[in-house]
Chain length 340, copies 2
């Protein structure tokens, strides 16, 4: 299957690399609107680069080889991954409609842009054959993974999560805060609760979000009331077998922070030190009153949605009809946690 | 009443200034162990400075006037505020016993150092006439204030709080994290829950704490299950009348972060931009299921325990027997929120 990546920034460049490793799809080209260092990386990695028609000259003046206009890229594709900045995806949709191409949008877009908001573990089958799919944002993806895994075994009665957001990504030099804790948003609930319910409408959930001065990862303090009683050991057993969730030892391996977690990923030789798995600190898993689970989890905001974008392609094009089958192919080829 | 301030650092210098403004007590001297800028500030503010006997020469070599050895300061006092670094207070206790002086310790000490752990709104009357009192730490003080106020009107069935700690105080140059979210501690519950229960043993409470790269304030996401149903309006009415709790408008006044809150305190001309009141963002006050309250609150870690230290003096020496009477005198003279 021929995939066009529209937007080669934080998400787009990672999705391109992930698709390149899959056996059943190929990247036929990527797009950029500015001739910056990421455009150079695209060329260096042998992706064909497409740009707005009126900017072809500007790119070539920068010495960057252009394969054509973005419309040409889209028209040659079986499917488009739209990884343009939040809000731009919705404006691009007209083009995808005009050229008759299915498309995957990111969580920064309003949910109305797509037929369905998507998480592989939560509602893969519902996305089969859909034309426009929106992969929910990083924080929502993290919440959906743990909720879906626990729901399957224990049932979930309600969820309360405090989301401590990283203020900016490592490459972002104009965002803050630099010395503050910001109520982001300054009301309750944050949009994450609403977004979880777009995928799992039956889950009562409340979320509170704050931004802090760090670039590495988001951290969630999650409290889940289970339907059935469970022990800490029960929870750990289920998470150990679950796709895309890593259990990390804070005390035993001395990984008590997002900084040590990222250092571990760097030492492992992971590309861009990405951690597409949801990370749960095993030491924090606590049960009170038999059914109230509390835990702390980390979300690598730049990469957690990458496997979901790959799976969304298979769902839309019905290449694979079962969630687990698609996830296994994705994860095996990305070298993620072995769970199959 | 003659008060000795043992330790003139973050807490000690503020307690000294606060006591100086009260009508029923006076600072007879403060102590320092190093001849740094804070020792110079003590002299500039006309506090008599006492130092370890073997360091008198070193201070004088720095051109800092010394009034005597620390033992002399303690022996002349009616009561001692121990504001030395965590753990040092317990070692000082022998001296206070030897010289027959009651003392107030800070929350960094283990609870065993004192006869009682103290918060003015929660258990003032239980501290009357006690010899050794420990004022609980900043985060615990913030939790106790909101719990005590709500308990009085609505009853409190359980508390769950996520504590987002500032990594270091503004003056601390060797502490972190500088780009991480740290599980601090990497297990559940954090000591704050245990410390709340030292003061209010009947409250079921769980706390999770993380440290982030900021210096200004701690922030708590607090979830309280009330015994009685309440509306957001009910909650606001009770908090508006409560001592030492400020309600802040995030949207209306554009104070959506700790940075804007501190800027507001600076603009108000508050000494050292201190905010000894607990700050609650009104916009975040939410009720679900009739009895589950969620809110976000800010704690100025350098100053929130200052009024409590003043009240603890009155409780130990039985100058005032009712909590509200002591708090009114303290707050009126410190220029805090008018609630009386």
């Amino acid at each position: 299957m021929k995939v066009a990546i529209n937007g080669f920034g934080t998400i787009g460049k990672r999705v391109a690399d992930a698709i390149s490793k899959q056996p059943d799809m190929e990247v036929i080209g990527v797009s950029k609107t500015r001739p910056n260092y990421e455009a150079l990386i695209a060329i260096k990695k042998k992706y064909k680069l497409y740009v707005p028609r009126d900017k072809i000259r500007a790119f070539e003046d920068h010495g960057i080889e252009v394969s054509g206009a973005i419309e040409e890229l889209i028209s040659r594709a079986d499917i488009v991954i739209d990884a343009t900045p939040a809000g731009v995806g919705a404006r691009n949709k007209d083009l995808y409609i005009k050229l008759g191409k299915p498309a995957i949008f990111q969580g920064g877009e309003r949910s109305e842009v797509a037929d369905i908001s998507f998480n592989a573990m939560s509602n893969y089958e519902k996305a089969l054959g859909k034309r426009y799919v929106r992969v929910v944002s990083c924080n929502t993806t993290g919440l959906l993974r743990i909720i879906s895994v626990l729901e399957e075994t224990f049932g979930v009665r309600s969820v309360f999560a405090t989301i401590i957001r990283r203020g900016a990504d490592p490459k972002e030099i104009k965002k803050g805060p630099i010395n503050a804790i910001t109520l982001d948003p300054p009301h309750i609930p944050s949009h994450h609760a609403i977004d979880v319910q777009r995928v799992l409408p039956h889950i009562p959930i409340l979320t509170v979000a704050l931004a802090v001065p760090t670039t590495l990862m988001h951290v969630h303090v999650v409290r889940i009331e289970l339907s059935k009683e469970a022990t800490v050991k029960d929870i750990i057993e289920v998470i150990e077998k679950a796709p895309r969730i890593l259990l990390i030892e804070a005390e035993k391996h001395s990984i008590k922070s997002t900084a040590e977690l990222i250092e571990w990923a760097r030492d492992l030789g992971r590309s861009r030190y990405d951690i597409p798995e949801l990370v749960i600190w095993r030491d924090t898993i606590s049960i009170t009153n038999g059914r109230k689970l509390t835990l702390v989890q980390g979300i690598h905001q730049e990469s957690i949605v990458i496997p979901e974008n790959v799976d969304a392609i298979r769902a839309i094009l019905k290449i694979v009809t079962k969630a687990r089958d698609s996830m296994r192919i994705t994860d095996e080829n990305l070298g993620l946690k072995r769970w199959w």
